[in-house]
Every structure is written in structure tokens, then in C-alpha cells.
């Protein structure tokens, strides 16, 4: 099938970008990124500069791939990363618009590649349990009920891709931040630092320039891992408890 692609091209962070139009011949067996590979291969043959985009594992787990495809982060399939989107979704003659994530806290580095290091700093602010190598007790000495363990797992399955930010009209990082807060604060091991954690992480999130949450829930709808906005509610509860009820206000 023949497709028309409108792709955002931008030389670097300082330059102004714009859309360029390309046509590409694709097969239904390809993944979306393989279709971009084919485009790039043909651009290289013509001695033109290929489109820069991030990708790595191509099995939906590393969180490197991004892209806003026809207005949707990671494209039209629910709970699916761009690398797992396959071209059988499209038909001959379709036009596809491909853009980078748009958010103040995710500046464009080149073409479709954005800088997501703001997420790194949010984790560094408190997204961990302070335990040194070699300190712990036997793993089975802390029983954790199945329900808590599986809720913590669900929150922990966030891949840090940033689709939630791209989907949100406020560019809020509440889903990302709350998933880590929920994962760790729910578990008995994480309770010791629970209050400090949520205060520090929320503070860093605000510092990075992410917007506030106004319960639009587009983040949950676009999240390739189906992270629930229940986590945001959980984080808000933790945050208020920590800021009102403790002396740990940052």
C-alpha cells in the first residue's frame, strides 16, 4: 500500500521545525517503525537525511519509542506502544501525520526525538527505597498479600515513555509520578519513606515544568501499559496526608 506521511522535521533543539511530506510503500506485515525504516532507507539512497526517531527493544517494554501519530501518542491501538503498532491498521492511500511529543518539559532534540530527562530527575528525587546492597533480610520475611502485590506490580509496569504527558492538554506528569509513588508507597518496604517520597517527587515534578492534573484522564486512555488513574488519586491522598499531617513538608 502507498501511504503519505507528514513528518515533523527539526534540525536541533534551537532550530525551528516544520512538516515535510513523504510517500512510502508499505506492507501490512510491517510494524510502524519498520515502515519508518523503509522510508529512511530510501532517504539514505537519495542522499537525504533520514528521520530521527527513538526506538530500541521493539517489543513494547523499553519505553524508548514515542511519536504522536495522527494526534495520538503511540498511535491508535489501545495499550500499545508505537513499536508494536502494525501497518495492518492502515490502508492504501492513507495519510499519516507523525509528530514528536509536545511538552515544555520534553524539549525536541531532533525531528521526532525529545529529551525526557525530566523523568530521570523525578525518580532521583525519591523514586526508590533506601536500601544498600547487602542489607536486607530474607525475602520471605515480609509477606505481602496478593492484592497489594499485584496492584504494586500494575503501577510498577510503567515504562517511562512519556505518552501520558503528551496526551495531557496540561502536559502533566501526574500519571508517571503517581505510578512510582503508588508502587513504592503501597508496599511495606516502601512505607518507611512514604511521606518524604511523595513530597519530594511532587516537588520535582512541579520544578520540571509539568502542568497540573485536571482529571481529563487522557493519560490513562493513551498509556501503552494501561496504568490506572487510581494511582493519581492514591498519590493525591498520600500527598495531602504527608503535607498536612507531618512535619516533613518540603
Amino acid at each position: 500500500m502507498k501511504l503519505t506521511l507528514k513528518i515533523w522535521r527539526q534540525k536541533d533543539a534551537k532550530s525551528k521545525g516544520g512538516f515535510e511530506t513523504y510517500t512510502v510503500e508499505a506492507s501490512t506485515h510491517m510494524s510502524f517503525l519498520e515502515m519508518l525504516d523503509v522510508l529512511n532507507e530510501s532517504l539514505i539512497r537519495e542522499k537525504k537525511e533520514p528521520v530521527a526517531f527513538e526506538h530500541d527493544c521493539r517489543e513494547g517494554i523499553c519505553g524508548a519509542c514515542s511519536l504522536v501519530i495522527n494526534g495520538q501518542p503511540h498511535g491508535p491501538w489501545a495499550k500499545t506502544t508505537t513499536c508494536q503498532l502494525h501497518m495492518r491498521q492502515y490502508k492504501d492511500g492513507d495519510t499519516i501525520v507523525v509528530e514528536p511529543y509536545r511538552a515544555v518539559a520534553f524539549p525536541v532534540l531532533k525531528d521526532l526525538v525529545v529529551d525526557r530527562s525530566s523523568f530521570e530527575r523525578i525518580i532521583q528525587a525519591g523514586g526508590f527505597i533506601s536500601v544498600n546492597t547487602g542489607q536486607p533480610q530474607d525475602a520471605n520475611s515480609i509477606p505481602i498479600d496478593l492484592d497489594t502485590a499485584s496492584k504494586a506490580f500494575d503501577a510498577a509496569s510503567c515504562i517511562g515513555c512519556g505518552a501520558c504527558v503528551a496526551a495531557c492538554p496540561n502536559s502533566s506528569a501526574m500519571l508517571f509520578t503517581s505510578a512510582k509513588v503508588a508502587h513504592l508507597n503501597m508496599l511495606p518496604q516502601g512505607k518507611v519513606e512514604a511521606q518524604q517520597r511523595v513530597l519530594n517527587m511532587v516537588k520535582q515534578m512541579d520544578l520540571e515544568g509539568f502542568g497540573r492534573c485536571s482529571n481529563i484522564t487522557a493519560c490513562e486512555a493513551e498509556c501503552p501499559k494501561g496504568i490506572s488513574i487510581e494511582n493519581i488519586a492514591r498519590m493525591n491522598r498520600e500527598y495531602w496526608a504527608a503535607s498536612l499531617g507531618s512535619e516533613k513538608i518540603a
Binding site: 537525511e49 527513538e54 530500541d56 527493544c57 517489543e59 523499553c62 502494525h86 525518580i123 525475602a139 509477606p143
Partner: protein, 666 residues
Amino acid sequence: MKLDGKVPPGPLPEKWTKYRSSMPLVSPSNKMRLEIIVVGSGLAGAAAAASLGELGYSVKCFTFHDSPRRAHSIAAQGGINAAKNYFNDGDSVGRLFYDTIKGGDYRSREANVYRLAEVSNNIIDQAVAQGVPFAREYGGMLENRSFGGVQVSRTFYAKGQTGQQLLLGAYQALSRQIAKGTVKMYNRHEMLDIVTIEGKTRGIITRNLVTGEIERHAAHAVLLCTGGYGNVFYLSTNAMNCNVSAAWRAVRRGALMANPCFTQIHPTCIPQSGDYQSKLTLMSESLRNDGRVWVPGKKEDAKAIQEGRKTALDIPEGDRDYFLERRYPAFGNLVPRDVASRAAKVACDEGLGVSPTGLAVFLDFSDAFERYGRSTANIKGIHNPDAATILQLGQKVIEDKYGNLFEMYEKITGENPYKLPMKIYPAVHYTMGGVWVDYNLETNIPGLFVLGEANFSDHGANRLGASALMQGLADGYFVIPYTIGNFLSKDIKTPKISTDAPEFVKTAEEVQARLNMLMNIKGNQSAESFHRRLGKLMWEYCGMGRTAEGLAKGRPLVRALREEFYRDLYVPGTMNEFNPELEKAYRVADFLELGELLMIDAQNRNESCGGHFREEFQNDKGDAVRNDEEYAYVAAWEWMDTSKDPILHKEELTFEYAELKTRSYE
């Protein structure tokens, strides 16, 4: 060169404990002044950087990714082994050691493997304390499952995302040290060379992938934790950016590449579907706990399936060949990976494959649906459940265990694996070979250490499932923090290494010259297209079955391709910008050298063992035949110059505790 594995003396079970408590130490005040560079931030790298930072060393950690969390350890699915014996099924450190030695077809170093088994339990404790949400039972205790090549349940897991959860645990520990300032993190920085001063590795040259700037970084010691080289085959289950360059650059500076021909072909991957395919996707080995592997017993049925005239459901039970259960009754579907892969290849070579290409076998869950459905109905008190209820209940159990894998399969293939059995085929997955290291994980160049998949040490000729996560974390959390003291304790008087040293200047210039050369070829073909062609050569001549004849043919073809590469490569863009094509170019250049060495090593090893299957050396049942008399050694290759043949150095393997036996899973 005499290779000294530096295995400490004493009885095997006491070696590590005794050695650990007699090793030289570095005092806390000296640790602060000693700098360590960690290249790579996967399980081994993140665990090492975090642990060394906690100890007080001054650590710099480098990754070419935008975040340590993207390392390909993230994609490991099935689980991590440990000898906890939580299930009272007779597991022990000794048994984990023995299974791993046997699984590796007796081509690994006994002392390393024993240490790995010993520290396995600490890893689970560490991960749980970090908040890794492993699977649990109703009582809140940790759950286990079985993996190939063993008869106990010792695999801890977090659905099909164990690697993700363990990596995030290590990443979070690392993030904590970054926040404390003990580790300085360099994201989007790729190592392009090591710097050696007076015989010791004292730093690295990196390229800032955003600006293209060539940078010099100095330290008292350098750790490479840069993963395996499976992508030399182009199509593999590795991530697109996995590469051998860091390790290979060290080899070009005198480190030795050990057993490169020991590559693992994983039996359960989604088969290739088109020419544009960029990678293959693994379906976790854990699926073989519940899935049964089969092909039609009759060729006409296989043909009908290949041509789309029949589906798996049309083949009656009696006409199916559950070939793993038939050939290996003691281990059944849970034979080790090399054995399962070869058996699938044999079935497909006989014309019994089930995809349009004829290169696939079924992995069928219908028995598991039935079994779990019935037991769930019992638990729920549903008497005389109908078939539909059983199926529904059973599918729910499977969904809870492997849900994400089933979803992934459906997205890629467009087929629903709850309705039709999965189609799977072997694919390159892991590399047991790697940079030669001694018991301290130190290479033959003092001050250069190699951890995780990038080294060769623990898995012999075949790695057992769920042992990669174990080894990466063992090396990073529990081995290097001790063994590095051996080297650094002698360096406490060495002042901060200056990046203005002539060795740094010279190496940086050489790196720059190499990049200039690649940019200036200005030919017509992309790095990617060369990579694809290399992959085809490797798979054809050095893949699942190898012959002396094929390898003799393959090697000159790789050399010819390499010459063509340096004649006709085209790299678009410039050096001083974000340029993924340039990154690919220098990585493919290294693969083009490693590929040749892989064939040389495969040709040298006149035996079949583990993942290295030489067609000439098999018994009448098609199983591997080792040659312990002549090949019970580690082949460590010296390769500093492409114009000369590499030099083979041997480290003889001695087995004091594990008896050398023919590996049987029957």
C-alpha cells in the same frame, strides 16, 4: 600468554567465602578518592554503579540511552533463578551449581558457577527489599516456577516482565546514588575506546550522542557492562541498539574474546514474517511450563497448514507429534534451550513446519486451559462445569500468568493465541561468549573489568533460562564490589588520573580519525543494509547448525563484505550532531570484525556442545557430541589487527566437583 583464572584455593563450597574475607580492603577515606567508570547501565552496570556508589567510591556511569532504564535487561521476561528452596523440592546451592554446569555443557569455570549459585539467594533478598513486585501466593509468600533444564521450581518472576522489574529496582538504586552525588550519570554518551596508561586501563573516550563531541573521561578502573553481541546476526531478540562495540574496542586494545561461537538460539520466538523485519520477538521460556510443543506427524497435514487449508484445530490428537515429550521424556517440554531449538529445526527440516515459510512449530496451551480450568472450578465450588466454563476459567489463569506475552503475540501476528496455538521458531537470543575475565571479573588488561552478558564466564556453551538476570545482578551487586578491591587497594596512592595525559590525547585523536574515515567513504549503501547482509551470512554459515565446510565458505564472505563496507558505506549528516546513522556505522564496523572471529572460533572447536552445534559431531539421535579430551578449554582470542589471523590462548577447564558426563535429558 598464560591465562590465569585466579581461582582461589580450597574446597569449592568454601572458595568464595574464604576469598571474600581475605581480600585486601580499601578504607572509606580512600574510596572517595578512587574513581570508577561503569560503561552500561543494565542489570550488571546499574547494580555495580549503585553498589560501588553506596560503598563510597567516586563513580561515573555511561549509557548511550536517554535513561539507564532503557537497557535491554528491561526486556527479559521469564524470571530469575535462586536456590532458596522455598518449595521444599530439594533445591540447594549445590544443585543450582550442578544444573548450571551441566546446562552449560561443561564449558564454564566451576568456581565462578559455584559463586553464582551461592549469591543467587542474596539477589532475591535485595530485589524484594528494593520493592521489586515478584509474583506471590495467597499467603503472601513468593511464588516460583520452573524453567528448562531443571527439575525443581526455583524461578522467581514478575509476570512476563521480570527483567523490567529487576532493572527498575537496580535503576532506582542507581538513581538514589545519582541524587546523592556518589554516581555521576552520563546519558546519551557512547564509549568508543578505552585508554590504557602504563598497562592499566585508566579511562575511556566517549561520544556525546546529542552534540557529537568527543570526550575524555579518566578513572582508576573501568567496568564494561555492555551486554552481548547477538545482533551480529542482525535478526535477534536483542534490542535494535544492542552492539558489541564497547567490548570489541577493548579487544582491539588487547583484551581477549572468549568462546565467541557460544551463541544461544532461543526456541520460542515469533517466526519471521517479511523481508523488512527488523527484529525477532521472544516468547518467554516460562511458557513451556504450560505450553506443549508439537508439529503434525504427517507431512501432508503440515503442508495443508502451511498453505492455509488447515489449522492446528483440524489435526486430531493422534496425528500430532509432541516431539520434545517423545524424545526427552524426563524433561519433556522443559529441556534446555539448545536442545529444544535443535529439535524444532529437525522437525522443520523434515517438512513438518507449520507456518507459510515452513519454519515454525506449535506451542499449544489447550491442555493447560483444561487443567487449570478444572482446578479453578473445584476451588470455586462449581460442580460438573461445562466445557465452555472450564475453558474460560483456564484461560483466565493463563492470562494472569502470561497475559502480556499473549497480548504481544496477538499484536505482532494478528492471531489470537487463546484460540489457536502459538507458532514459534528459534532465534538468536543470548551470547554466552564474551570478553575473557578471571575470577575477579578482571580482563587480561589490569584495571579493565567486564560484567554481565559481556563477559564469558558463567554459562559455558549454553545458558539455562532465568540465569542471565541472576548473573548480571550477581556480578554487579555481589561480586565486583568485593573483587575490585584487589585491584584498587594497590592504587590508593595513585592520584587522580588526568585526561591531559598523552595516552588520552592520542586515543581521542584515533577515535576522531576513525569517525572521519567512516564519514568520508561517501559511498552508496547504508550501514543498516550491510548489517542485514552480515546477519544473513552469520545465520547461514554460523547459525543453528555449523559445518567445517560452511564456516570455511562463510569467513571469506564476511571479509569481502567488510571490504565492501569500507568502500561503499554512506553515512548521511555530519559528525557534530545527533546522528543515529553514524552510530550504526561504527557499530556495524565492529560486528563485521566480530562476525569473522565467531566463524574462526566455530571452526576451531571440532565438537558440538551447547549452543555450538557442529553437524559433523552428533550421535545417531541427533544430540550433541562433545570432545572433552581436546576441547575442555576456554578459547580466548587475541585480535588487535585485522590483517593477521587472531591468536588462540587456551584456559584449560578442570572439573573437580562436577563429573564430566554426556548431557542427557531423556
